[in-house]
């Protein structure tokens, strides 16, 4: 099955199978957009929770940690409830669009980025905060400094979130609908092939997904290294 899967994956890639490329591209950009949004919000939240003292802070930290355990099926259900024509945002007609998947994956990635960033910033040497302040750094410069000092941990947080989104199934199925050519992603395609008993094709889809993940992993590693050098 694995050997057949590898062969089929190679074949699909070599003949540039249109539907596979379509699903792969969609998988990639959906996850990237969702993760970028979650990174912006999640890093801010993580920083805030690590640096600012306010009532309810530890509760929020706990909730975000628990938030990592929200199953994708639940996110899918809740987003469906929101985007359904009967739902609050029904008028936007977003159900069964890539945007709907992005919305769901955003909520999937957010607690991961926020929790791991919070952890990373919390673990920084307290002198780092004091030094930045005493040298007069404003909020922006301070933020950049803290992120740079914790850059490996934060890069891993983003990578973890990306992996989660790129491989998730529940949201894409539920609010994406796995519509051919519209909202089909590599994971829903894998699930489809698997449900049809086409196991080798399922493996092939997953392997294509994995090779893209490898590129993204490398990109994140390089980006975080470069970011480190640039901001300095």
């Amino acid at each position: 099955m694995i050997r057949e899967g590898i062969l089929e994956a190679l074949q699909l890639l070599l003949r540039r199978d249109a539907s596979v490329i379509d699903a792969a591209t969609r998988s990639l950009w959906i996850s990237i957009v969702a993760v970028i949004a979650a990174t912006v919000v999640g890093i801010s939240a993580g920083l805030l929770l690590a640096r600012k003292r306010f009532p309810g802070r530890s509760l929020l930290v706990l909730l975000l940690r628990v938030g990592m355990s929200v199953p994708t099926v639940l996110i899918g259900l809740l987003c469906y409830g929101l985007l359904s024509r009967r739902g609050t945002l029904g008028e936007l007609e977003l159900l069964y669009t890539p945007t709907a998947i992005i919305l769901g994956e955003f909520f999937l990635a957010l607690p991961i980025v926020a929790t791991l960033t919070h952890g990373a910033i919390t673990r920084l040497d307290p002198r780092a905060f004091e030094t930045a302040r005493t040298l007069g750094a404003g909020p922006l410069q301070r933020t950049v400094t803290y992120l740079r000092e914790a850059k490996l941990a934060i890069a891993l947080a983003v990578l973890t979130a990306f992996s989660r989104c790129f491989t998730e199934l529940g949201i894409a199925m539920m609010v994406g609908g796995n519509i051919t050519g519209r909202t089909r992603t590599l994971t829903t395609a894998t699930a489809l092939e698997t449900a049809r008993g086409e196991f080798a094709s399922g493996v092939a889809m997953s392997l294509i997904l994995l090779s893209i993940a490898m590129l993204v992993t490398l990109a994140i590693a390089l980006l975080s290294r470069e970011a480190a050098e640039q901001v300095s």
């Binding site: 359904s84 024509r85 029904g90 069964y96 449900a195 008993g197």
Partner: protein, 276 residues
């Protein structure tokens, strides 16, 4: 389950008249919820493009569990529903969720089982085959998911004077494909729809036990969702799609659809040519 009289205005379609100037006229979209086994049969891959081309529209097919498909219809999130669960369809229509109910085609459920046939179910009708499986406490995998197939299984058990509890009666809670694989792995008896069976029969070691009997008839129907639910529901196009499915052209496509050299569906609206 009666047809409402709303189905008769196929000409008033906005989709048939593309915007004059635009280089790419806005496509009109029909959202159809179907069951996964219907999608997995591959028939829709033949039917949908034909309709899309003819009507310059797009069909978004959302394949989910039977219950979920009906719920999407109830919520007005889709324009049409294509399922095979007769009693649930009736409830849907009675609840005013649908304005049109069109039987399209049918095929048959199959009871499959291990080639050794420990229950000696072969050659019996569906009900007694099940009884034999139950009394021998042989392994049986049920979908247990309230799908059309599961509902049929339940009604068969009713006819068999109820289903006794036994250890090896397993509920998979999954779609037909995975359930069939599970039955194969477990060397168990299973009730499956013909489409899934044909698609996967070369991958499993199970063999058909009971086939083609009347109480295993599996009718597929199309329902148009009540447009009162939402202004966004494209009832016109849904009606057109219904019209298409019962048209001679589509019925012939259905009749000629083959998997591995075998015809899979019997059209309901092509009376003179339907075999049987």
């Amino acid at each position: 389950s009666d047809r409402q009289p709303t189905d008769g205005k196929p000409e008033s379609s906005k989709t048939a008249v593309p915007h004059a100037s635009g280089s790419s006229p806005p496509e009109s979209v029909l959202k159809v919820a179907s069951t996964t086994s219907t999608r997995d049969s591959g028939l829709l891959d033949v039917l949908l493009p034909e309709f899309e081309k003819a009507n310059n529209c797009r069909i978004d097919l959302i394949a989910v569990g039977t219950g979920a498909a009906l719920k999407l219809g109830e919520a007005g999130d889709v324009d049409a529903v294509l399922v095979h669960a007769r009693s649930a369809e009736d409830k849907f229509m009675d609840g005013g969720h649908g304005i049109r109910h069109e039987p399209i085609m049918h095929n048959f459920f199959i009871i499959a089982g291990p080639a050794a046939d420990p229950a000696q179910a072969k050659g019996h009708d569906a009900v007694s085959a099940l009884q034999k499986v139950a009394t021998g406490e042989h392994r049986f995998v049920s979908r247990g998911d309230d799908s059309g197939t599961h509902k049929r299984e339940q009604s068969l058990w009713l006819k068999a004077e109820g289903r006794p509890e036994w250890e090896d009666y397993v509920e998979s809670g999954q779609g037909m494909g995975p359930t069939l694989i599970m039955a194969d792995e477990m060397n168990a008896y299973v009730l499956t729809d013909e489409g899934t069976w044909l698609k996967q029969s070369d991958k499993v070691q199970l063999v058909p036990m009971v086939k083609g009997a009347d109480d295993l008839k599996n009718p597929y129907a199309m329902m148009v969702v009540n447009p009162d639910k939402s202004s966004a529901i494209n009832a016109d196009l849904a009606n057109k799609f219904s019209d298409f499915l019962i048209s001679k052209r589509a019925q012939e496509l259905i009749a000629n659809y083959e998997i591995k050299g075998q015809r899979l569906f019997h059209p309901d609206r092509l009376k003179q040519e339907t075999p049987e």
